[in-house]
């Protein structure tokens, strides 16, 4: 259906040195995709590089391993489901929801079994929470190692969950007086288990079935996951199949061999559940250098705390000599990620960038060295120290530590 009568329009005016003006772009002349092209949509082909990435040398096998959220490619506070980092210990289990059950047993008045349909009849709540692996930044204990916030800080995501308050399910079974602990167990081939004190279970835990509006993803525990707000990600048992009420903790593998924090003197902290306040500058960062030269520059980052909200983040451009309060942006929700920005006029000289989170309890994110002084460098877990990026004149950024 070309215009066969009449000359092509505006030929004379097409004078510009910018290739964007060289011609009418094809997408402005030709028809695009119909509405039945993608019943479930995917990102643009121009965003194919925005991916979860794994680091093969971290684990023996990609089946019991981890991949990382590309924090430097994201903005705001919601992590899209397709980019939420994965950590599983025997692979991501594909559970048939029709054959999935949740059992409550142990020190309860009635041992119960629920189908998914039963669970859909309990009242639900909706909350945005971050989930951070206790090992996030764990590779950095001995010194800066990985060049990119995806790798140094990408074992985290922030999602709106829909779920049943755990206390309602436990009340349905009737907790006996001696019941002070809860064992949560997954239906994957790791049969993942963690002990949770009853106080937390009755406080803000959820048995969630939706994330960011839709069903949980397979790799996030479809069809059912425990949500343990502010506490380390390993406790958020995926493919949740069983809750046992007991009088003592279980001291299972993931709370003894793993997820205990070995200190310098050979002693180890157990049950280090809460995630301390933490922040990271996502842009600029090693995977997201400054490419525009001197002038107006947007610095952006994320901050979170397992103890509440983040009313304030400080940013330094000179490695900690002087600090500036960042601008917080987006909803400020308890135990959720917060987005911060610091806009500045870059003079084109090298920068030593750091961010420092303050949480609503008054806790201020410490330096890595302050943590090392208290804990040594063998703890693997719970490294919430301040991260430094060295931005060079070229705009490239490197993971460094400073005096």
């Amino acid at each position: 259906a070309a215009a066969s009568v009449g000359a092509a329009a505006g030929g004379a005016a097409r004078a510009s040195s910018d290739p964007a003006f060289a011609e009418i772009q094809p997408w402005m002349q030709e028809l695009g995709d119909p509405v039945d092209a993608a019943p479930y949509g995917m990102p643009s082909e121009f965003e194919a590089h925005v991916q979860r990435k794994t680091v093969y040398w971290l684990t023996a096998d990609p089946i019991s391993s981890i991949n990382f959220t590309p924090l430097h490619e994201l903005d705001g506070i919601i992590t899209p489901n397709g980019l939420c980092f994965e950590r599983h210990h025997s692979g991501a289990a594909h559970v048939d929801p029709a054959l999935h059950r949740l059992m409550i047993n142990g020190l309860v008045d009635r041992e119960l079994v629920f189908t998914m349909e039963d669970l859909m009849r309990f009242p639900r709540e909706n909350h945005v929470y971050f989930l951070e692996c206790a090992a996030n930044s764990g590779m950095e204990w001995r010194g800066s190692q990985l060049n990119g916030c995806q790798f140094t800080h990408g074992m985290i995501h922030n999602v709106m969950y829909t779920g049943i308050p755990l206390r309602l399910l436990l009340a349905e079974a009737g907790i006996q007086t001696a019941g002070k602990w809860l064992l949560a167990e997954g239906a994957d081939a790791a049969g993942m288990t963690r002990s949770i004190p009853m106080e937390k279970a009755l406080d803000d835990c959820l048995v969630a079935f939706k994330m960011n509006g839709e069903a949980l993803r397979v790799e996030q525990g479809y069809p059912l996951r425990l949500v343990v707000p502010g506490w380390e990600g390993n406790m958020w048992v995926k493919w949740l199949r069983r809750l046992e009420v007991g009088d003592e903790p279980w001291h299972h593998r993931e709370e003894t061999s793993k997820y205990t924090d070995l200190l310098a003197d050979g002693k180890a902290r157990r049950f280090t559940w809460e995630m301390d306040a933490k922040s990271v500058i996502t842009n600029p960062s090693p995977q997201a250098p400054l490419t525009h030269g001197a002038g107006p520059t947007v610095l952006s980052g994320l901050a979170w705390s397992g103890r509440g909200t983040i009313p304030r983040v400080d940013v330094t451009l000179d490695g900690g000599k002087n600090w500036h309060q960042a601008r917080m942006s987006g909803p400020s929700l308890s135990k959720s990620m917060h987005r911060f920005y610091f806009e500045f006029d870059w003079n084109g000289q090298p920068l030593l960038l750091q961010s420092r989170a303050h949480d609503s309890t008054g806790y201020v994110q410490p330096t890595k060295n302050a943590l090392r002084e208290l804990r040594g460098t063998n703890s693997i877990y719970h490294n919430n120290g301040i991260q430094t990026w060295h931005v060079k004149k070229t705009g490239e950024a490197e993971n460094v530590e400073v005096s």
Binding site: V113, L119, R121, A189, H252, G266, A268, T361
Partner: protein, 205 residues
């Protein structure tokens, strides 16, 4: 927003679990022996089962092959630069071995071992870690008598007392340091995934 609430007397949703169903799913074991099935197994039988089912990943002597977990050795290394955390050197309770091996091992065929198999493997892992002799037989009867060497070195999270006071001080905002030097570079360790490096620093276990 309002909190979700339950009616007086509960919802009456779900159904009572049968005794058999609970028995089938209630596989967890605790340090006090709660959950242990009746059974027993010797170091000798354990070694045999181990060599068929476990050794190709964890090594004949539980020493670990390639990057697969090391399960024996490492005594006295916990305050070293590179501690070796194994069942013998680190794990506080024997029940964890029994529980974990049944629920998660062998990797790829979980919950396939019989109680006697698991007692035997557990006995063998105690033996590999020099905690019992080669003629030892582990059973539900003597299980709780075994104390693990590193149990005393675990303590409850004390950050609230040891760290929080120090980390709640109002921080310096201006002229906080005279000099700033770079003390470490990621490029020196050179292990960023893009580079295909094989890794230098610690893994995440």
């Amino acid at each position: 927003q309002d909190a979700a609430e339950a009616p007086e007397g509960g919802f009456g949703l779900g159904r009572e679990a049968t005794t058999e169903e609970v028995a089938m799913w209630d596989i967890d074991i605790r340090p006090d022996g709660k959950g242990l099935p009746v059974g027993s197994g010797s170091v000798e039988l354990g070694e045999e089962i181990w060599s068929y089912n476990c050794a190709h990943c964890h090594g004949d002597f539980a020493e670990g092959i390639d990057r697969w977990p090391v399960l024996a050795g490492g005594e006295g290394t916990l305050s070293d630069d590179r501690p070796v955390k194994t069942i013998g050197s680190y794990w506080p309770y024997l029940s964890t071995v029994y529980d974990y091996v049944y629920r998660a091992m062998p990797f790829g065929y979980s919950q396939s071992l019989s109680p006697d198999d698991v007692y035997a493997i557990t006995a063998y892992l105690l033996y590999s870690n020099y905690i019992v002799e080669d003629d030892f037989v582990l059973s539900n009867e003597n299980f709780s008598e075994i104390a693990m060497p590193n149990e005393e070195n675990f303590f409850m999270d004390d950050r609230a007392e040891t760290e929080l006071p120090q980390f709640t001080a109002e921080p310096c905002m201006t002229d906080c340091k005279e000099q700033v030097e770079i003390t470490a570079h990621a490029t020196v360790l050179d292990v960023t995934p893009e580079d295909g490096g094989e890794g230098g620093g610690g893994g995440i276990d």
